[in-house]
């Protein structure tokens, strides 16, 4: 029972990553009412891209430069894959109804997983930690907190998520583009009458979501295995986080991510076998939906029919 602080810290850190991914679900849902099932794959692509940059960096590059560079590259890769997915797969069927879009999203998800397996031949990758001072080794270092070891790279998660969330919040609430996003989300026809280019707003929304998912992929990739299916579980949990927090709500996505992260660590804290850890998110989902179907911070939206 003395390692409560450890599990809480651990939960907050991983929760911050879920939050980062959940923001993308919530943004895209907010604007085109699509559950983008391929979003977890944007995260996976980000992790691979970061690793790719790591491979081409000169071996002596100090980690203090390499780590931000990898994070930025992953973000850019996330942007590229998200915008391409939107342009190639979603845009052509935007008027074909929600079911078609949902099925397409699932298809894109499988496609990206299989493409990654094809390119990577399904061999998991990992930053090498053999050499002292290498990125892999630094990211594997841990400090003891509340009776357990937390990897120092995990302490980057919360500030990164916090910074990106604040920037996103500013964009959405204070800029012309953000106003346009909210307008398109509420009434695309009326938004078009304002002179808003809807296609461009949707593209930029995917861009923002892809950026955050890609960065999340880099963060996790630093200390765990990079493989084609790695996006599935975090993607699913982040989706649950977005729904728990209230899909369409930015603070909701962050809150949901943190809740899922903390709850699944509390499950471990209570000595439940770790195999049940992944079930925790679903239990939270069911409980929240029973009490508050629109999610914790979600609004009771009058759905248009």
């Amino acid at each position: 029972m003395d390692n409560f602080i450890f599990f809480l810290t651990s939960g907050l850190c991983i929760g911050a990553v879920y939050a980062l991914i959940a923001l993308g679900y919530t943004l895209v849902y907010g604007i085109i009412k699509l559950i983008n099932f391929a979003h977890g794959e944007f995260y996976m692509v980000g992790a691979y891209a970061g690793f790719g940059i790591y491979l081409v960096l000169p071996s002596g590059t100090p980690a203090i430069f390499a780590i931000p560079l990898i994070i930025i590259s992953s973000g850019i890769a996330g942007i590229i894959i998200a915008v391409l997915t939107e342009q190639i797969a979603y845009k052509p069927i935007r008027k074909s109804g929600r079911l078609a879009a949902l099925l397409t999203a699932i298809g894109v998800s499988f496609l990206l997983q299989n493409l990654a397996s094809f390119i990577n031949k399904a061999n998991p990758l990992q930053y090498s930690s053999d050499k002292v001072g290498s990125i892999g080794e630094i990211c594997q270092r841990s400090v003891s907190i509340g009776g357990g070891g937390i990897k120092i790279i995990q302490f980057v998660y919360i500030p990164v998520t916090l910074a990106l969330t604040l920037i996103l919040w500013y964009i959405v609430m204070k800029t012309n583009f953000g106003r346009a996003m909210r307008a398109v989300s509420q009434d695309p026809d009326a938004a078009a009458l304002m002179g808003i280019n809807i296609d461009s707003v949707i593209r930029k929304t995917f861009l923002l979501g892809g950026l955050m998912a890609g960065i999340a992929g880099a963060l996790i990739g630093f200390h765990s295995v990079i493989e084609p299916m790695m996006g599935f579980m975090p993607g699913l949990k982040a989706f649950i986080a977005a729904v728990v927090g209230g899909i369409g709500s930015i603070p909701g996505a962050v809150l949901g991510g943190l809740i899922i992260g903390i709850v699944e660590n509390m499950v471990l804290f209570c000595n439940v076998p770790s195999g049940y850890k992944d079930v925790a998110a679903f239990v939270v989902l069911i409980l929240v939906l029973l009490v508050r179907p629109q999610g914790i911070l979600g609004r009771n939206t009058r759905e248009k029919v």
Partner: protein, 237 residues
């Protein structure tokens, strides 16, 4: 000619909303388009602002063919459309709604000037500027919708039933403001109305649509008020 619609047809699948409709609007005019429910009035405005496609025909504004333009470019060219049912952004504040009206205006100073102008026409919007659009009364929402469409400094204002659901006193007020905007701001107005009486009183010219076709063209809107067919069909005579 300022706006010229040539043999325009619009259809939704099997439904023909407009068939070979031609009309024109001169600069500085207020032109009314009357017609029963389902006559195709809103389709006309939607086709001009390009949110529904024209099946055939041409729309020419200020000498430029806009038949295939994107909606946002139509706004940039100087046409603002205040749609049927107001279409206020409920979750955005009054101020944000107005700012969205000026989305195509790149100069922030020009936006502020327009905003002040709108606030002098509609003082109530200034008092309510921090309130969510959805919390306004119906009349206030209509003012917001008109104000929002003026924020882009349009040359041509398309108004779809601005009096719908308003009390008679408010209707007078809205039409008074429309006239002022037309006279003082030199905004040409194309006005759709079911309230034929009010519309004909304020318009220079009028067209009547029946089942997707123009049935009456009048160069003197007030004279239409005495037309027996109009009285029977639209004035409840």
């Amino acid at each position: 000619m300022f706006l010229e619609v040539k043999e325009l047809s619009v259809s939704y699948g099997a439904v023909d909303a407009l068939e070979n409709v031609s009309l024109h609007i001169n600069e500085g005019e207020i032109v009314a388009l009357l017609g029963a429910n389902g006559a195709g009035k809103s389709s006309m405005l939607d086709a001009i602002s390009r949110i529904v496609p024209a099946k055939s025909g041409r729309i020419i504004f200020n000498g430029a063919d806009i038949t295939k333009e994107k909606p946002e470019n139509v706004v940039r060219k100087g046409i603002a459309h205040c749609p049927e049912g107001r279409k206020i952004f409920f979750d955005l504040t009054v101020l944000e709604n107005l700012q969205l009206g000026a989305y195509t205006v790149k100069d922030p100073d020009a936006v502020l000037v327009n905003l002040e102008k709108i606030f002098t026409y509609f003082p109530v919007l200034k008092d309510r500027r921090k309130q969510k659009g959805g919390t306004l009364s119906g009349g206030e929402q209509q003012m917001l919708a008109v104000g929002r469409s003026l924020m882009s400094s349009p040359k041509l204002l398309l108004l779809d039933e601005p009096s719908l659901g308003l009390a008679p006193k408010l209707i007078d007020q809205i039409f008074e403001i429309i006239r002022k905007i037309n006279f003082l701001e030199k905004v040409t107005v194309f006005l759709i109305e079911q309230n034929a009486n009010e519309a004909l009183l304020h318009a220079d010219r009028a067209y009547v649509l029946e089942n997707g076709r123009i049935s009456i063209i009048s160069d003197n809107a007030e004279e239409l008020l005495k037309n027996p067919h109009i009285i029977r069909a639209y004035l409840g005579g």
